[in-house]
């Protein structure tokens, strides 16, 4: 298990390098230049060259990449060109907001999704199943930014229960969490239901019935236990996705966070900030994948045996 963990972490190294190259290059290939934002209109080419030299933008790309990567690896994310602050500070300020939002959304969609999926599976083809699956279909077809606007209209503008935007109180978290969490709930509920039904058809479940165990105990202690293996894997994979998905929702609700920071820096072509934001999101995806694999091994002795 320990050797697997080490191998699995080492496998992330080439992935990280590939991701870093892509993140670095993408920004150099999109049009626009942060220097444009810094220079006064009509500045001389000499002023421009001096500015470029100051930020190292006059060097060849591979050199720029090597310097950037070296700094990133030592925890130095550089200084924002436009915002003129250490990028690390900006990330440190934004990240907790995003983690809180994403974490709560993940928790919400796990609890609700697994709960609804179990209820649907236990009532297969009866009305609770049909009702839940109908809701799930509706939930999974709505884009999150649109859902966010609808929730905002109903609960903030009409009912006045929650603030329209911002992050000043915990109530401001409710609607953004719902916006991200509802789509995830739909996905998790659907996967849980299918996994439960699939697991319930296995041979060993028949033998559990033959042992005289109660159906509810069989469903919750054995069938659900099996169904959770794929569900937990998918939830872990969603960690990165939810942080990325929070981008639009943060903007819709005007919340501080990685998404808002990313969008703002992108519009200003503030390379170091954008790169750091993308790096954070990519690392969230990588760590989610790692966590998914580890959880699967923790939950299934056959997987552990295959890895040993």
């Amino acid at each position: 298990m320990i050797s697997y963990l080490i191998r699995r972490v080492l496998m992330l190294v080439p992935v990280f390098l590939a991701v870093s190259v892509i993140i670095f290059l993408i920004l150099h290939f999109i049009p626009g230049d942060p220097i444009d934002n810094l220079l006064k209109v009509g500045s001389s080419p000499a002023a421009r060259a001096e500015m470029e030299a100051r930020y190292g933008l006059d060097r060849p790309l591979p050199v720029q990449y090597a310097i950037w990567l070296g700094k990133v690896l030592t925890g130095d994310l550089g200084t924002a060109i436009v915002a003129r602050r250490p990028v690390l500070d900006m990330i440190a300020q934004a990240l907790p907001h995003s983690l809180r939002l994403g974490g709560l959304a993940l928790l919400f969609s796990s609890v609700m999704g697994i709960g609804l999926g179990v209820v649907a599976a236990l009532n297969r083809d009866r009305w609770p199943d049909r009702a839940i699956m109908g809701g799930v279909l509706l939930g999974s077809t709505m884009p999150s930014f649109w859902l966010g606007l609808i929730l905002m209209l109903v609960f903030s503008v009409w009912l006045g229960w929650f603030p329209v935007s911002g992050a000043r109180s915990w109530t401001a978290l409710v609607l953004p969490v719902l916006t991200i969490g509802l789509g995830g709930t739909a996905l998790v509920a659907r996967i849980t239901r299918v996994a439960m039904i699939e697991a319930a058809g296995k041979d060993f479940v028949m033998l559990l019935h033959a042992k005289g165990l109660s159906p509810l105990r069989i469903q919750l202690r054995h069938v659900l236990r099996h169904a959770l293996i794929p569900v937990v894997t998918i939830l872990a994979l969603r960690i990165g996705w939810i942080l990325g998905g929070a981008v639009t929702v943060e903007v819709v609700f005007a919340r501080p966070g990685l998404g808002t920071l990313l969008i703002k820096s992108l519009s200003q072509h503030d390379y170091p900030v954008v790169q750091a934001c993308l790096l954070m999101l990519a690392m969230a995806v990588m760590l989610g994948t790692l966590l998914g694999d580890l959880l699967q091994a923790a939950m299934d002795p056959r997987v552990r045996a295959a890895l040993a």
Binding site: D203, F204, L207, A210, G212, R225, R302
Partner: protein, 321 residues
């Protein structure tokens, strides 16, 4: 005094498919009843009916009654039937490879039966589990109890399944083709274990099999099923000496015997019809050499043979050797 397990005129349907019709069986303690027939003849369904597990596969008893120790299963609620399963009726499955929960340790899967049905605490249940495992000649029982199912061989898993079936101290074991999925050498061991349980503990054993050789060696009585109906039900001696039903005769001819000429092994032409396409009259008539107009039109009733057996055939042989 009725038998421990008694099926009287039991018919079973799943949805609109009528899969079993008028099954009569009786099995007592210390006896081994062989339930034989080709795939699709309704052997496993009979076992499910005997355990009251039909609802699990969407099936129901449409006629007749299943009595266990004098009690009609249909008068028991689901909870009452559950108290029989595991406690008084142990079940051994066909495929031990898939019979155990892959994410639960071996010992816990056996413990649960005696904890649930005998009210033992954790330690007492484990002691009982280890004791049973030792009786079934499972080496290093304590270590095996802590193992995961995937770490055991098929034969060892089947012993675990048998230990599970025994943990509730049952009166009846139903074994659904317990050796089909195992290596030949292991098959004999498992059958010896099962036969030993009947001999030493006075259990009743319903042995579902399609191996007439196994039947000849182990069983006291044999019930031959064909396409969801009982063809013949008799003591094992007469059924081999003088099969009354042409299908039984054909089955007995399928066993290779010492001194048989090479190439003289028989098969039965044709195949068991599917439930959707059962022929009218006797369901065996399309494959039967004795079939005539009566067989094609009229369902043969079960009639008693002089030796106490039952046969359902218009042209049954007298049944005396």
């Amino acid at each position: 005094m009725s038998a421990l397990l008694q099926l009287s005129g039991v018919s079973v349907a799943i949805g609109k498919a009528h899969l079993l019709e008028g099954i009569d069986l009786a099995l007592d303690r210390g006896q081994i009843l062989g339930l034989v027939g080709e795939s699709g003849s309704g052997k496993s369904l009979t076992a499910m009916a005997a355990m009251g597990l039909l609802p699990l596969i969407g099936g129901r008893v449409t006629a007749g009654e299943v009595r266990f120790d004098g009690t009609d299963l249909s008068t028991l609620g689901e909870a009452g039937r559950r108290h029989l399963r595991g406690r008084r009726i142990g079940f051994v499955t066909q495929n031990p490879m898939t019979a155990l929960d892959p994410v639960q340790r071996i010992g816990a899967q056996i413990d649960v039966v005696s904890r649930l049905h005998l009210g033992l605490d954790k330690a007492a249940a484990r002691a009982r589990t280890l004791d049973l495992m030792a009786q079934l000649r499972i080496p290093e029982a304590a270590a095996v109890a802590e193992a995961w199912p995937h770490q055991l061989s098929g034969g060892m898993k089947q012993r675990i399944v048998i230990a599970m079936a025994l943990a509730g101290d049952p009166d009846l074991i139903i074994a659904d083709e317990p050796t089909t999925a195992l290596d030949v050498t292991v098959q004999a061991q498992i059958l010896q274990i099962l036969a030993g349980l009947v001999r030493d503990r006075g259990l009743a054993l319903m042995l579902i099999t399609h191996d007439m050789g196994v039947v000849a060696q182990l069983c006291d009585r044999v019930a031959v099923l064909y396409a969801g109906r009982l063809a013949e039900e008799r003591a094992v001696g007469p059924i081999f000496a003088a099969p009354a039903h042409p299908y039984t005769r054909a089955l007995t001819l399928c066993i290779p015997r010492e001194g048989m000429a090479r190439g003289s092994l028989h098969g039965i032409p044709g195949a068991v019809p599917s439930a959707a396409a059962y022929p009218a009259g006797c369901r065996f008539h399309p494959r039967c050499a004795r079939a005539d107009a009566t067989c094609r039109a009229t369902v043969p009733a079960l009639s008693a043979l002089p030796d106490g057996g039952l046969v359902a055939c218009h042209h049954a042989e007298p049944g005396a050797p």
